[in-house]
C-alpha cells in the first residue's frame, strides 16, 4: 500500500523549468483567470491589512437597539445579532481568517518540508520511522482528527492553529518525501554528493529549491481547505467562540438568524467562498503552468 502511495507521488514530481521566475510570471500573465484571482487576493489582503483604518465602526462595539439590521446607509452590510457592524467585522475577520490560515499553512509547510527532507534524503531507518508517522497522521480523516485535538485542547485561536497544523503537516511531508526521492536521483545532486558537499548544503542548495514549487501548489490549494476547516470546527462549537471576529465563527454564530436576518450568514459565507475560490484558481493555475501534463486532482 505504501508503495502505491509512493508510486503515485513519484509520478507527480515535476522539475522546474529553466529561467524559472520570468517564465512563470509570463505564463501567469497569459491566464486571465489567474490574473483575476491574483487581483482579488491582493484586494482581500489589502483590506485585511488596512482593516483598522478603513472599517467604519469598531467591530466589537455592541449596540443592542440596532441589532439584526439589513444593509443600509449607516451600515453598508447591516448589523449582527448584537448590533455590531457587519462590514467592520468582515474586514477585521479577513485579518483573523487569513492570518490563522497563513499560520497553519506556513507551520505545516515548514514541518512537512523538514520531515519529508529527512525521510527522503537519509532513507533507511529514518525514512522508515518518519513514513510510519506520516501514515498514521494521514489515516485520520482531517476533520475528525482536528475535532479530536480541539476536543482535547479547547477553543481558541492558538489552539485552533496548533490543531490544524498537526492535521495538515503530514500531507506536505509525504509530498516532500516523494519529491526528494526523485530529485535525489538526478545528475546534479549525485555530482554534488560525489563532490563531497555536506548534507545540509545539498538539501538547502539543491533539494529544497527544486521541490518547493510543488509544495507551494499544495500550500495554495490547502489555504482554502484550512479556511473551510475553521468554519466547520466553529460550527461544531469547538473552533472559535462566536465573539471572535472570524468568518467561520461569524457564519456559525449567524446560523440561528438565517431566517430573520440572513445577511449575517450570507456575507461571511460569501467571503469564505470567494477566498477559497481564489486560492483554488491560483493553485490550479500554478499546477497547470508548472506541470502541463499532470493528471490532476490528486492534491485535492
Amino acid at each position: 500500500m505504501d508503495n502505491v502511495f509512493a508510486n503515485r507521488l513519484r509520478k507527480k514530481s515535476f522539475s522546474l523549468p529553466e529561467a524559472y521566475g520570468s517564465q512563470f510570471a509570463k505564463r501567469v500573465f497569459q491566464r486571465k483567470d489567474m490574473l483575476f484571482a491574483l487581483a482579488a487576493l491582493l484586494i482581500f489582503a489589502g483590506l485585511a491589512l488596512f482593516a483598522p483604518f478603513i472599517s467604519p465602526y469598531d467591530p466589537n462595539a455592541i449596540d443592542l437597539k440596532n441589532k439584526n439590521l439589513g444593509p443600509s446607509e449607516e451600515h453598508i452590510l447591516g448589523t449582527d445579532y448584537l448590533g455590531r457592524d457587519l462590514l467592520s467585522r468582515i474586514l477585521i475577520g479577513a485579518r483573523t481568517s487569513l492570518s490563522i490560515a497563513s499560520g497553519v499553512v506556513l507551520v505545516s509547510l515548514f514541518l512537512g518540508t523538514a520531515a519529508g527532507c529527512a525521510a527522503g534524503y537519509y532513507g533507511g531507518l529514518v525514512d522508515e520511522s518518519i513514513s510510519r508517522v506520516i501514515d498514521i497522521f494521514l489515516s485520520f480523516p482531517g476533520v475528525i482528527f482536528a475535532l479530536t485535538i480541539m476536543g482535547a485542547l479547547g477553543t481558541g485561536i492558538f489552539n485552533l492553529m496548533l490543531a490544524l497544523s498537526i492535521v495538515h503537516w503530514a500531507k506536505y511531508a509525504r509530498m516532500m518525501r516523494g519529491q526528494v526521492l526523485s530529485i535525489k536521483k538526478q545528475e546534479f545532486v549525485l555530482s554534488a554528493i560525489t563532490g563531497g558537499a555536506g548534507d545540509f548544503y545539498i538539501i538547502r542548495k539543491h533539494i529544497v529549491p527544486n521541490a518547493i514549487a510543488t509544495l507551494l501548489v499544495l500550500a495554495t490549494i490547502d489555504f482554502g481547505h484550512v479556511i473551510l476547516s475553521i468554519a466547520t470546527l466553529s460550527f461544531l462549537g469547538i473552533g472559535l467562540p462566536a465573539d471572535v471576529p472570524e468568518w467561520g465563527a461569524m457564519l456559525s454564530a449567524g446560523k440561528e438568524f438565517m431566517r430573520t436576518a440572513p445577511y449575517q450568514t450570507i456575507f461571511p459565507g460569501l467571503a469564505i467562498t470567494f477566498i477559497v475560490i481564489i486560492f483554488s484558481i491560483l493553485g490550479d493555475g500554478m499546477r497547470d503552468i508548472l506541470d502541463p501534463n499532470h493528471e490532476g486532482g490528486e492534491i485535492d
Binding site: M1, N3, V4, N7, R8, R132, D135, I136, S139, F140, P141, G142, V143, I144, L147, T148, I149, G151, A152, L153, G154, G224, L228, A231, T232, F235, L236, G237, I238, G248, L251, S252, K255, M258, R259, T265, G269, I272, T273, F274, V276, I277, S280, I281, E295, G296, G297, E298, D300
Partner: protein, 303 residues
C-alpha cells in the same frame, strides 16, 4: 495496517487525556448532576474507581488494548452505560448508508458531469458546470446543508427537515454531503477525459467513424478512470469528516454525531471506538482503491 490502528488508538487515548477538566467530573455532569452544578468529591471518587480512572494512563491504555485483543471488548460507555461495540453497531449503519449513498452520487454525478463537460469543452454548458463545481468545493458544508433545508424543505416542501429511517429522509443529507465530492470528482474527470480524448487512438477511432458514445464508453472512459479512482479514495476522508457536520444538522443517528457528543462529555471509550471505526473504514476504502488501481493500471505492481 494493524500497527497504524494501534498507533491511532494510542494517539486518541493520550490526546483525550491531556485535557483540562477531570474525566470523571465531566462524565458526571453530563449524566447525572446537570451541566452547571458542582460535583461532590465522593461522586467523583465513585466514578473514578468504577472505571479505574485513577490508574496511570499507560496502565489504563494497556488494559484497554488487552481487553480489546483478548475479549474483543472495547469498553463500556460512561454516559450510555452500554458496550461501545453495541453503540457502534447501532450507529454505524446510518453513517455507512449516508456516506455510501453520497459516494455513489459523487461517482455517478461527478463522472457523468465530468464527461459531459469534457465533451463540451469551452462551450457555455462546460463553463457553467465548472463555475458551479468551483462553488461546490468552496462553500462551507454546513452552510450548504442549511440552504438546502431552506429551499427543499421549507420553500418547496419536497423533503422532511430532519430524521432518519425512510428514503425521503436520506435525500437532503446525502445531497449536502456529496456536493463537495461531486465537484471534486467532476473536475478530475473532466481534466482526465480531455487528456484521453486528445490521444492518438481516440482520434483514430473518431476518424473511423465510430459513434461518440461508443468511443467514450469503450475506450476513453477506462483510460480516464485512473486519476478519478484516486480522487475517490481521497474523497472518502472528506465524506467521513463532512458526515460529522451533516449528521448534526439533520439529526442523523450516525457515528459522527456520536463522536462529537462523546468528545464534549469526555466519554472516552466511545470516542476511542468511533475514531477506530472511522479510521478503519477510511483505510479500508484506501485499500480498495489501491487494489482497483493496481488492477486497472498494469504498470503498478506491489513490491
Amino acid at each position: 495496517m494493524i500497527l497504524t490502528l494501534f498507533a491511532v488508538c494510542a494517539l486518541t487515548f493520550f490526546l483525550m487525556n491531556v485535557i483540562p477538566g477531570g474525566t470523571a467530573e465531566l462524565v458526571l455532569k453530563h449524566t447525572l448532576v446537570g451541566l452547571e452544578d458542582s460535583v461532590s468529591k465522593e461522586q467523583v471518587n465513585q466514578i473514578s474507581s468504577r472505571y479505574n480512572l485513577d490508574d496511570p494512563l499507560y496502565i489504563q491504555f494497556f488494559r484497554w488494548i488487552k481487553e480489546a485483543i483478548v475479549t474483543g471488548d472495547i469498553g463500556t460507555s460512561y454516559v450510555f452505560k452500554k458496550p461501545v461495540l453495541y453503540l457502534l453497531a447501532l450507529r454505524l449503519p446510518a453513517t455507512i448508508q449516508l456516506a455510501g449513498v453520497s459516494m455513489v452520487i459523487a461517482i455517478l454525478a461527478g463522472v457523468s458531469m465530468g464527461i459531459y463537460s469534457a465533451l463540451k469543452e469551452n462551450r457555455i454548458s462546460d463553463h457553467i458546470l465548472r463555475i458551479v463545481t468551483l462553488f461546490g468545493v468552496s462553500m462551507p458544508g454546513f452552510w450548504v446543508a442549511l440552504l438546502l433545508i431552506l429551499i427543499f424543505s421549507l420553500k418547496l416542501k419536497l423533503a422532511p427537515v430532519a430524521g432518519y429511517g425512510s428514503l425521503e429522509n436520506l435525500f437532503l443529507p446525502a445531497a449536502a454531503l456529496s456536493l463537495h465530492s461531486v465537484a471534486a470528482v467532476m473536475r478530475v474527470t473532466r481534466i482526465s477525459m480531455l487528456e484521453t480524448l486528445g490521444q492518438e487512438y481516440i482520434r483514430f477511432a473518431k476518424a473511423k467513424g465510430l459513434p461518440l458514445w461508443k468511443i467514450v464508453s469503450r475506450h476513453a472512459l477506462k483510460n480516464a478512470m485512473l486519476p478519478v479512482i484516486t480522487v475517490i479514495g481521497f474523497q472518502m476522508g472528506s465524506l467521513l469528516g463532512g458526515a460529522v457536520v451533516i449528521e448534526k444538522i439533520f439529526a442523523w443517528p450516525g457515528i459522527g454525531s456520536l463522536l462529537v457528543d462523546s468528545i464534549s462529555a469526555r466519554d472516552l471509550p466511545v470516542v476511542q471506538g468511533c475514531v477506530l471505526a472511522i479510521v478503519t473504514m477510511f483505510l479500508f476504502v484506501h485499500f480498495l482503491v489501491d487494489m482497483l488501481y493496481t488492477h486497472l493500471d498494469p504498470r503498478i505492481r506491489y513490491g
